[in-house]
Symmetry: C2
Subunit: 179 residues, 2 copies
């Protein structure tokens, strides 16, 4: 793994760029990408060398990825160092990222909307139009929230298969919608 082929470099660099629009910082995303391609778990030191990053940067990045829950620490007998490996099942990873996004994007907004709609601070009277818009958005977020929850509790295999046959999704949805 010390040597990166051009294809691997492409992949890692691209992933780094993508990470930015995903709210993961570039180096963390690169680390993730490399672990994803690596057949074996890697030590922080190895990651440093391969990606030419400072040891501290790698430490921070790994920490962030652990926070996302998309990598794991492994321990090897007779080796004091931590070994890191990426989550193998990409679908499981997808689910984790969804949940994390919900936690970061949906939950705080939901809280804020609920607070402001139900009990406007300082007992001010709420402009009817504003209230209407807030309620509409609240309703929307409640629904999204419920959707997320559905996904959470769905077994991986279920939504995997369901999503795979996306071709028929429209039809199914239409049927449901007629209800």
């Amino acid at each position: 793994m010390a040597e990166l082929t051009p294809v691997m470099k492409n992949f890692i660099l691209h992933w780094g760029e993508m990470g930015s629009s995903w709210g993961i910082n570039r180096t963390a995303a690169q680390i993730y990408a490399m672990l994803y391609l690596s057949p074996e778990a890697m030590t922080a030191e190895e990651i440093c060398e391969t990606l030419s990053l400072a040891r501290s940067t790698v430490s921070t990045g790994l920490h962030e990825l652990l926070g996302w829950g998309v990598i794991r620490i492994l321990h090897v007998l007779g080796d004091r160092r931590d070994h890191y490996e990426s989550m193998h099942d990409i679908w499981e990873m997808f689910r984790i990222i969804l949940e994390e996004r919900k936690r970061r994007e949906v939950d705080p907004t939901l809280t804020m909307l609920r607070e402001n709609v139900s009990e406007p601070s300082g007992r001010e009277e709420l402009d009817p139009y504003v209230e209407e818009r807030l309620l509409e958005m609240l309703e929307f977020f409640e629904i999204i929230n419920a959707l997320y929850k559905q996904f959470e509790q769905m077994p991986t295999e279920t939504y995997k298969k369901a999503v795979r046959m996306g071709d028929n999704l429209t039809k199914v949805m239409s049927l449901i919608a007629q209800n």
Copy 2:
């Protein structure tokens, strides 16, 4: 609209913060939030005053929002200035944001994966393990891509209703999955 109530301020500030994790910059997100709450379309000048932003910043922000397609320009008879209003239907907006995310996050990755898997640059031999991982990810992104497309072509009313009854989604999915 010149005066912002505390609730409005909360909403706008929160939206600004959220924008950051959404890849929209803070001021643009704030502008959007204000337009969302505004019963009437607003001019750039009014936005400046209400949010205490520089005219140029507002111009840039509006441009960005136009790029996302979540606001519109209106013209008023006898007024040379552009008036801006937010998209009213939050569901339609949701769809637009989905599409935009796909364009920014999914499409480039898909392109990159296809290129690297099918024709590794310079005719290098591809490590079998790496190829396997790339293929797995490619397959995943193809499916997500197909899913997005399904949503795109679905009439707003359809997915609105479908999503609304999320409670039953698990069951439906399970049924589909058994197929």
